[in-house]
Symmetry: C2
Subunit: 452 residues, 2 copies
């Protein structure tokens, strides 16, 4: 037979089973946490009509998109989950109840230049809340709670949800009469973390933006406002009354901060940060970023914000919303690279491997069935190999337990349960073995995906 070299395309993640087990757990935490907040699951096609997907058009999107024809149809693969959501809401508007809260975890496609840690196929895990005509600020206040619980459940404690409000920024630049240049200014200010205040000031006064030194200083003073949430809000109060948009933004930001305790978000995990702006054309109110405190180099692991018009290119209905997105594949890759994935999670295909040591394996099969009936993930070892090979299979795959069945066990109506970590072995009825395994697994079930 002529052979083809098997390979997986670069930029496409494909994990070995033990790592995939961690990824599955990661996904499960996301599904469960999103569900806990009343987000309903959604699944949309990977392929859409190109004209629909590119309705908004322009920019990097068109260059990176996977687009092709099949028959006469111009098709494209989704590059995010927001455009498909907009399409979905526009189509199903009459059948949905608003606020409409959905989560979607799915693969998206971007033909980016291949490089280490960049993926062309990657999972995004999004939540969005869509209002019909309007949407209360409390939704924006709830988002940090979702972020906090998600990452806490994943095992992180050292992270900060950084929050700002675009109205505060827009209002501030309007006060200075710089509204028209505010986009360029915010893009520059966004670099503060990377290049420092000096260079930001130089850029602001440079040829392109050409601010006066007074304006540049005013801006640097503004974005230098830091401290506790209360301190930052107090400092912002000093600007109140000079611009309506600013004042509205300050009201919103204050509301978001005010509800944090009731939403269960510790102050330590939340910071008002006037330097962040996010998606300049899109967001209109609260914006979010999430940083791992000890790994700022990873960048934001969860971002999003409030927008006024989800589906303007499909419908004349005003559909304001707020949403966040986690770039699951990239985050998982980075955590793996940095050795931050926990080894607590059972990476084996099951909790127990049942190993028959007699020719007649009916008793072993029966044992496996009893364990499965009791809800224990159970694999039956079936191959006619030497004992050593069987145990080596069990330890290579990392089964926490094995159940050995020989003539003695069959005669006594018991099984030999071996704890593969401690090496301890006990003889007992299969039902009792199930109880022991279950209790150990219940502890493991709470194991975090991320270690710090």
């Amino acid at each position: 037979m002529e052979r083809i070299k098997a390979r997986t395309l670069s930029g496409f993640m494909e994990l070995l089973p033990a790592d995939q087990a961690k990824m599955e757990r990661f996904m499960e935490v996301l599904r469960n946490t999103y569900s806990l907040y009343g987000f309903t699951a959604l699944d949309t096609p990977v392929i859409e009509a190109a004209e629909v997907l590119l309705a908004k058009g322009g920019g990097d999107t068109e260059k990176q998109i996977y687009r092709f024809t099949k028959g006469d149809t111009d098709l494209a693969m989704r590059f995010d989950l927001t455009v498909p959501l907009a399409k979905y809401v526009a189509i199903n508007y009459a059948n949905l109840s608003f606020p409409f809260r959905r989560y979607q975890i799915g693969k998206v496609y971007r033909g980016e230049r291949a490089q280490r840690g960049r993926f062309r196929e990657f999972y995004q895990a999004d939540i969005d809340i869509i209002g019909d005509g309007k949407l209360d600020i409390i939704n924006e206040a709830e988002i940090p709670s979702v972020i906090y619980r998600t990452f806490s459940r994943l095992g992180l404690s050292k992270f900060v949800i950084r929050v700002n409000n675009r109205k505060i920024l827009n209002g501030f630049y309007a006060m200075l009469g710089l509204s028209e240049r505010s986009g360029d200014i915010m893009r520059t200010v966004d670099k503060l973390d990377k290049i420092g205040a000096e260079k930001v000031k130089a850029l602001l006064m440079g040829e392109e933006i050409a601010l006066s030194e007074a304006d540049a200083d005013e801006i640097l003073k503004f974005i230098a406002i830091t401290g506790s949430n209360a301190e930052v809000l107090a400092a912002l109060e000093g600007y109140r009354g000079r611009n309506e948009v600013f004042d509205a933004g300050l009201e919103e930001l204050s509301a978001v901060v005010a509800y944090l305790p009731e939403f269960g978000v510790p102050e330590a995990n939340f910071a008002v940060d006037l330097t962040i702006a996010r998606g300049l054309d899109y967001y209109t109110g609260t914006v979010y970023e999430t940083l791992m405190v000890e790994h700022p180099e990873i960048g934001s692991i969860c971002s999003g914000g409030r927008y006024d018009n989800l589906a303007g290119y499909y419908t004349d209905k005003a559909l304001p919303g707020v949403g966040i997105s986690i770039g699951v594949t990239r985050l998982f890759y980075v955590l793996q690279e940095q050795g931050l994935l926990s080894d607590e999670i059972v990476a084996a295909p099951a909790e127990v491997l049942v190993i028959p040591m007699t020719d007649d394996i009916a008793y072993a099969v029966k044992t496996a069935t009893i364990l499965r009936d009791a809800g224990i993930r159970t694999q039956l070892y079936t191959e006619k190999k030497k004992f050593k090979a069987r145990m080596s299979y069990a330890s290579k795959l990392g089964f926490p337990y094995t159940v050995l069945i020989g003539e003695d066990e069959m005669a006594e109506g018991v099984v030999a349960l071996k704890d593969m970590t401690s090496g301890e072995q006990v003889k007992l009825p299969a039902e009792e073995a199930a109880a022991i395994i279950r209790s150990a697994m219940e502890k493991k079930a709470k194991a975090a995906v991320i270690k710090e």
Copy 2:
């Protein structure tokens, strides 16, 4: 703004939230049941290099495949989960332990002619067990147990797993000296259910296959062997000793049947059926089909079999295996069409909707947090609407419970828990409300997806 008409491509399933909730539960049952048998989760790319995906080549596959170029790369979208598995095992052979058991639930793509109930993007849910060089028959005996438990958990009881063995068929045709025509014969015999014995006989004796009447009668007599498993096996014993392949097949089939009780598969859900052959070029041993007894028109809802060579076009390693596949999207569609999806499953985004009836909603937010901490899926109603509109939102979305919070509840430190089905309303602390909701939800959690 210029508007584009939002639409979803035909042949691509996109469900409304309440139906998606059922689909999510369907998927959850599949994941959990497959896991229970020690199948490890796998995720492979949707896109592969075309030469890799089409290594086997030929047939309908090439016509239906979504294939396109991006840059210089010839790409194709997977049309099943078996070829990606073969690729994966060939690439990762050295890092896997055999038998390698994996499940994969993922979307596959086939550009079939659009028609009602045919999908171009659909989920397959596969399990496979791959051996290194050899694979014990017990694996083939375990598969009916996986099928039985999967559909039982989905809520079905009236289904039959039909099993045959290709060696029995091949051996039988060899006895008659008809090996060369066995492919054509089996394709014809496969039509028995649809066209009846008379027409099958006519076809067998027709121009194309041209069997003698004696041979045709012999074949019809053979495939007419029916009865209990024991009766069919007894009848097959009558052919023993005339052909080695037949005898090997009979041994295998007997072993598969013998372990059914220990694997917990009731005789009523299992039938040896000599008429089924499945995938003629691929399967070499046990083959499986699954029929809904009262809906045979749906066809097989879970099929598969034993094959000798998973990845011959990528590697010289002999990799025999056995696997089954469920065409999830089509099955779900058919169940939905026939009204066979249960309404027991909570279709709402959450179990409870917390509705504040005061301006200060801090207490309501705190209540939502308490419920979520207790593991209750909770949505907070946030919009400033009239009471009637709030309750209408709750009932439209089908929340099983609402929690109402007014001045009285705040003053007393309680919540008003309303059972939306019975209309009953009680005042009690949030923690007690959580306990009531949890106990109701635990019952719902066992609700079947399929009703009969």
